[in-house]
């Protein structure tokens, strides 16, 4: 085998580590993307019996954004198995207890339900903030594109930017600005 062919072979079967910044991202849409990489379906060599999934490192999972009123309306169900053991936890309560849990549970539910599921979950590394141990960060070689733009707050613009921005209407002549 030629030198180029050998490198191609390594690159094909090498494991990639992707970084994903979950800041202001919808966890349910992001999970669709992360699931594909954990299973390896984005690769041409994918096969059901082929273990070719890549690692995903998710940062800032505490700053995920949910649409509309989903923080209050989405409910996570758990049953202990005993009588009266049912419990319902709202999304914001779950996020308050563990800021990585919503993303982890979403990816887990989107993975195919077979014996490979737990092994694929082991390739997912979620961190609530942007502090990653060096042992993980040194493997990262690529980044996943964010699905939503991060909105900029009004108080993060400079005073000049706000004042110089084109105006849509002018106040009436006798209007006292508050």
């Amino acid at each position: 085998m030629s030198a180029v062919g050998r490198v191609q072979q390594w690159a094909t079967f090498g494991r990639m580590w992707y970084l994903f910044d979950a800041k202001w991202q919808n966890p349910f849409h992001s999970a669709d993307k992360i699931k594909d990489i954990l299973t390896g379906t984005h690769k041409p060599i994918y096969h059901d019996l082929n273990d070719c999934g890549d690692h995903v490192v998710v940062i800032n999972s505490s700053e995920i954004a949910l649409p509309g009123v989903e923080w209050e309306k989405r409910v996570y169900f758990h049953h202990t198995g005993y009588a009266k053991g049912a419990s319902w936890t709202l999304a914001w309560q779950l996020h308050h207890k563990d800021p990585t849990m919503i993303l982890r549970k979403t990816v887990y539910s989107k993975l195919s339900k077979n014996l490979l599921r737990r092994g694929r979950m082991e390739k997912l590394h979620i961190f609530p903030d942007d502090k990653i141990p060096d042992s993980i960060l040194e493997n990262v070689s690529a980044q996943l594109r964010q699905m939503r733009p991060i909105p900029k707050r009004l108080d993060h613009y400079t005073r000049e930017e706000v004042e110089k921005f084109p105006k849509v209407f002018d106040w009436p002549k006798d209007y006292i600005i508050k």
Partner: protein, 145 residues
């Protein structure tokens, strides 16, 4: 109502309202004191619609696809305490006024305009109560107008 711009009063007891300025003229032993309207600071920055003058309201004329994340536009319709300006001030049509009202509410719930809030506000979205402190976004296509 009259602001003392003849450079005599530098300390204001109440907040200054720069609506008019006092112009003192002296001609042939006749002193004329006049209250003149001051030019609006927005006048030079106003956007002209593409097709010239028309009867529609300013937002209809611009034909913008406004999102709740466009805080630089939405903050123009809001007072410093976060209240929406009335229709007689904004000059919008009923449809656009309603739409802007909802977009402003969305931006405020997302915590994108924390500096335009009542004086007792903590002004930090992360310090809000329970579920309100977490990031959320909205879909404008769900608006009825």
């Amino acid at each position: 109502m009259l602001s003392a711009l003849n450079q005599t009063r530098h300390i204001h007891v109440s907040s200054p309202v720069s609506l008019k300025e006092i112009v003192v003229k002296e001609e042939d032993n006749i002193i004329t004191v006049e209250g003149k309207y001051i030019k609006s600071p927005r006048e030079a920055l106003l956007v002209k619609p593409e097709h010239g003058e028309c009867n529609s309201c300013s937002l209809c004329a611009l034909n913008l696809n406004l999102k709740h994340t466009d805080v630089l536009v939405l903050s123009q319709f809001v007072r410093s305490d976060g209240c929406m300006l009335p229709k007689r001030v904004t000059g919008l049509c009923a449809r656009q006024q309603k739409r802007v009202k909802w977009l402003v509410a969305m931006a405020q719930k997302s915590g994108l305009m924390p500096n335009l809030a009542p004086s007792w506000s903590k002004r930090d979205p992360k310090a809000r109560y329970r579920s309100k402190k977490y990031n959320r976004y909205f879909d404008e296509s769900t608006l009825p107008v």
